[in-house]
Amino acid sequence: MSEPLLRIDDLSVGYGDFIAVDGASLQVDEGQIVSLIGLNGAGKTTLTSAVTGLLKPTSGKVYFGAEDITGMNTDKIVSKGLSLIPQGGRCFNRMSVQDNLLMGSFPRSARKEAKETLGHVYELFPVLKEKMRDPAGSLSGGQRQMVAIGRALMARPKCLIFDEISLGLSPAVIKDIYNRIQSINERDKTAIILIEQDTRRALKMSDSFFVMLKGKIVLSGKSAEVDAETLKEAYFGI
């Protein structure tokens, strides 16, 4: 079997004396969609922050391809092809939509193809092309999420992490965004990690899943094969 694209090995992260992630392991293969589900405060966001270098892990390893990226600076990790779309999107509100997208191609490896990728992004989200000169802060919540996704795509990532992309959006908008995530995965073979609280939607879309509870991965498997009862037990820890 070939090397997984992203491998997290027994990773722990703490804030002072509080341990938020306690020896979590998971892996994602190329072109796969994986969902990471769990309650509020289970440590999902902390885990992804540590993987992308925003936080320094206390122990454990993260491999991207064959390379050890544990504790690397975020900008290095992004330029290797692992991008995170943080909760709420976090657009640069005072910059125009186009400038936001161009920011995504900041890594040197992505700059040469910036024009071409920008075309792809506008193809995927035509509404952004219409509003390319508007400041990102003036857009609706769903559109801001699109800007954030587009910005991440501009770096030409091999793996994309979506941190609760559906938070605060209406069901129709969520459905729309999920369709596009699916097409990103199909067209570019980009591996995708979906962090969600909405278990049903996440399982429907993903190939495999991981359930997190109190900092630990308590259950994992193929999304199609899990039965509702086991999942509920793992999810709530009962």
Partner: protein, 338 residues
């Protein structure tokens, strides 16, 4: 798997009663020494400086280290006090030094009340900038004001000229009162509120700390004592002009004293002031280098001893001289966490 520790359980508190008694003994000895003339004039001159700098450093520490108001404009109150002393003791008014000092402190309190209307709308760096600019504005005002001699300033001729002994006792008294007040203040509910404000102003407000009144109290107290100390400084200088009264180096010295000693500790500025006075004395031998050395020390201390001398000692040795924590004793007995 969720581990939590209560750090206060590790802190030995070395304040009252032995430490307090030691301090009272020291103060009494100093008073006796001054009154009985047991201390030589040379030593007394040092002592005066130390007392005044302790007062000023402690006040800046109260502002920045406890209330989170990093003022860069405390020279405003020194200038006001200096001018008040010069004016009130001049032949025109002919008041004695003591009343002149009180007038200076009173004017400073009034001005600080007025300034609070402007300054307290601001936080963080805006506050720092505004304090600096306000002091500059007063400097410019005195430059243009005929009554106080414009740019040339005033000569200070106090009649009768106070003896060094009197100045020393006065400075010691101001210093002791200031220290006792800060120490007492921090151990009341006000101190608790101030510490909460420094850590997180929004949460402090949400648990019912009246931010405005806490800030106002601290700011006015700081203005009052800074003015008292500043006024005495100008007794010996003989002249005052806008650039010397409203000189930012007054605040530089307060910052240095608080940082070196350790901001947010009551004992820090005392150590800081003693170091500052002796360092200043030594640096007089290297004219032109004094600020380079002071600046380098400040930067090194911030980078390598971010808690200052007293703060670092407290962390390393896990004790605290003069804890400002009201509940330190109860917490000590509480073996929190697992």
């Amino acid at each position: 798997m969720l581990k939590r520790k209560f750090t206060p359980s590790h802190v030995k508190v070395l304040d009252s009663p032995p430490m307090l008694i030691l301090c009272i003994v020291l103060v009494v000895c100093l008073y006796i020494g001054c009154f009985a003339g047991l201390i030589s004039n040379k030593v007394m001159r040092y002592l005066v400086q130390i007392f005044l700098y302790v007062t000023m450093g402690e006040m800046w520490n109260l502002l920045s280290g406890y209330a989170g108001m990093t003022s860069l404009g405390q020279q405003l109150y020194i200038g006001l006090a200096g001018y008040s002393v010069a004016m009130a003791t001049s032949p025109l008014f002919g008041l004695p030094l003591f009343s002149a000092l009180l007038i200076g402190a009173g004017i400073s309190v009034v001005v600080s009340l007025f300034m609070s209307l402007i300054l307290f709308r601001l936080e963080g760096m805006y506050f720092s900038i505004a304090t600096l600019v306000a002091a500059e504005a007063f400097c410019m005002l005195f430059f243009a004001w005929k009554f106080v001699g414009q740019g040339a300033g005033l000569t200070i001729r106090i009649n009768p000229y106070p003896k060094l002994q009197e100045i020393c006792i006065l400075s010691l008294t101001i210093c002791v009162v200031a220290l006792a007040l800060v120490y007492g203040l921090l151990r009341t509910r006000v101190g608790l509120g101030l510490t909460a404000m420094r850590d997180d102003i929004t949460s402090a407000a949400s648990v019912g700390v009246n931010i405005f009144s806490h800030k106002l109290l601290v700011y006015v107290i700081a203005a009052f004592f800074t003015a008292l100390a500043g006024g005495i400084f100008f007794v010996n200088k003989g002249t005052i002009y806008p650039d010397s009264g409203f000189d930012i180096s007054w605040t530089i010295s307060m910052v240095f004293i608080a940082i070196i000693g350790g901001t947010g500790t009551v004992s820090g500025p005392v150590i800081g002031a003693i170091i500052y006075v002796f360092l200043n004395e030594k640096l007089a031998d290297y004219p032109g280098w004094s600020n380079i050395i002071l600046g380098t020390i400040t930067i090194l201390v911030i980078l390598f001893l971010p808690n200052g001398i007293m703060g670092t000692l407290q962390k390393k040795l896990r004790f605290e001289i003069f804890s400002s924590k009201r509940f330190s004793f109860r917490l000590k007995k509480n073996a929190g966490g697992k």
